[in-house]
Amino acid sequence: MLAIHLFNGLVYGALLIIISSGLALIYGLRRVVNFAHGALYMLGAYLGFAIMQASNFWVALVLAPAAMAFLGVLLDRYGFRLLQDREPLSVMLVTFGLLLILEDVVVFIWGKTNYSIFTPELLHFSVTLFGESVPAYRVAVLFMGVLVAVGLTAWLRFSRVGLYVRAASTDPVTTSMQGVNTDLISAGVVGLGCALAGLAGIVAAPFLSLSPSMGSDVLIDSFVVVVIGGLGSLGGAFLVAVLLGIIQTLGAVYMPAIAVLLPFMLMIAVLIWKPSGLAGSRT
């Protein structure tokens, strides 16, 4: 039994990796704590659901994140870029407004009923892992999480654009003086962040049901991940995502009261001792 819970924890951790890396990327470039991120995840899932009805899961897996990327570029161009001189707190509240609007849009189009997506035919079988039989789809989700983690790290570390992204998140003014178009970089990164949120949504859809409130809990979990992991530090976020996934799944089974509180206690401790990451001022 332990192995299967551990496995499910890892799967949830993989999902958190995909979501919170987007959150961390957007924070890194725009210093925006994006409250709408959970809503973007939800929107991604619903878009995927709609696309699936017209075609199949695999098309949705590509098209839904693509649509979210487009939305993200718009969000950066007509939102974050215009607001970049405002206080971080104001921008955070704007993203909260966006969350309310997106949730309402989803309710308007798809209603309040829960939907579920069937596991794609190709992955509709079981594999045996540590002597336990687990759905192949969940193994695929696990791989997707690893793929995103490795892909993002490699991209940031080894590519030229990745270098620009790292430079722009350290010091956007100097970076733009060096001739890098930081606005373009930001638009790209916010687009990528939204695409990752959408990807997480469509990936989660076959094993978590779709509802307009699905973004809320995931949002708080990814805040926990990003804060404990250290803002802007993707590596830290990946590690914490996996740990949180395991704690949540194992905790729910073995020690419900303590385990759910532990991540928040850690988050509070981190914020009290080292709030600098989120202090928000950058000159």
């Binding site: 704590v33 607001l83 405002r86 971080p88 707190l89 104001s90 955070m92 509240l93 704007v94 909260f96 407004g97 966006l98 969350l99 309310l100 609007i101 949730e103 309402d104 849009v105 309710v107 308007f108 809320s216 708080i220 805040f223 926990v224 804060v227 419900p256 009261a257 759910v260 509180l261 928040f264 206690m265 988050m267 509070i268 914020l271 009290i272 709030p275 990451g277 989120l278 202090a279 928000g280 001022s281």
Partner: protein, 323 residues
């Protein structure tokens, strides 16, 4: 005496409402608005005096209800004493928490309060033995509170007027507190903490006191809500409750003390009174929030104030080009 003008005006408005409104269900909605208004007032005080945005004030809103539920169920304490005790304990614990957390600046503070609020939500939903878990708990109010029987007290017009008067009293007391030297000190710290420290002000204690004050005000809203519904569930501790109350503060405007009250009334009007729009009230409010932050950061109360003063400023503005 300037600080008395708004409370006096509000008191008259409240009495006028009871003269003209007949429908009982309308009163229930109004009472809801007043409870929200006091809740938002608490968040507004923190934002106005400390410059800190709390995303977790539902903690104090829900804590008041749970405090009453637990005290009335277990201790046999009279309800009046229990209410006082709840507020006292809450003020004290908020002060101690405040001593630690008000040093945390900006967004980090918001995340911190979010984590605290969410922790209390999870705690209340898991601790079945004490709080009834996710099902919530009924609050065993005695037949008489402050010598008035419940059936009289909870009659919609009566309870509305009582809540409204409590709201006005809270506003009055808070504005009197903030009109003192203590109020000016907290503003000095908000504007420049380092400078305030240089001129010899101890900066943490006043900020923690403001935090405690804001918690107690929100707690009063929690008490009223628990009296009104006789029930408390973890839902009232959820972060979205904090966020909605915060939204009222921003839309209403936090620079005026009464701004959050305006925000709460506008929120309830959009949500419950304009029937056709009610299904999309959250989108309307989200849009309002964005519009206010981008175009009118002082909120509705700020804009109203500006309009009321415009005759003078407009006249002087007109003179300039001609001269």
């Amino acid at each position: 005496m300037h600080s008395l003008r708004v409370p006096a005006l509000l008191l008259i408005v409240g009495i006028l409402v009871t003269q003209f409104v007949q429908s009982g269900s309308l009163y229930s909605i109004f009472t809801q608005a007043v409870i929200y208004a006091i809740f938002a007032l608490g968040i507004g005080i923190l934002l106005r005096q400390n410059g800190l945005v709390s995303f977790g004030h539902a903690l104090y809103f829900g804590m008041a209800g749970y405090g009453m539920g637990i005290l009335l169920a277990g201790s046999g304490m009279p309800a009046e004493a229990a209410m006082l005790l709840v507020l006292l304990v809450m003020g004290l614990s908020a002060f101690l928490i405040g001593l630690v957390i008000v040093r945390v600046p900006g967004i980090a503070f918001s995340m911190l309060t979010l984590a605290m609020g969410q922790m209390s939500y999870l705690l209340a939903s898991r601790a079945r033995g004490v709080t009834g878990g996710a099902d919530g708990m009924g609050i065993a109010w005695p037949a008489q509170v402050f010598g008035v029987s419940q059936s009289v007290l909870l009659k919609p017009p009566t309870f509305f007027l009582i809540s409204w008067c409590i709201m006005v009293a809270v506003l009055l007391v808070v504005s009197l507190i903030l009109a003192t030297r203590f109020g000016s000190i907290s503003e000095a710290i908000r504007d420049n903490e380092e400078r305030a420290r240089f001129i010899g002000i101890r900066t943490t204690v006043p900020r923690a006191l403001i935090y405690a004050l804001s918690a107690v005000v929100t707690g009063i809203a929690g008490l009223l809500s628990s009296l009104n519904s006789g029930f408390i569930s973890p839902e009232s501790l959820h972060w979205s409750v904090s966020a909605i109350a915060l939204l009222m503060v921003i839309v209403g405007g936090f620079r005026q003390l009464a701004g959050p009250i305006v925000g709460a009334i506008v929120y309830v009007l959009i949500k419950d009174v304009l029937g056709d729009l009610a299904t999309h009230s959250m989108a309307i409010f989200g849009t309002a929030l964005i519009i206010v932050i981008v175009f009118a950061p002082e909120g509705i109360a700020g804009v109203l104030r500006h309009w009321l003063r415009r005759p003078q400023t407009a006249a002087s503005a007109n003179e300039l080009p001609g001269s």
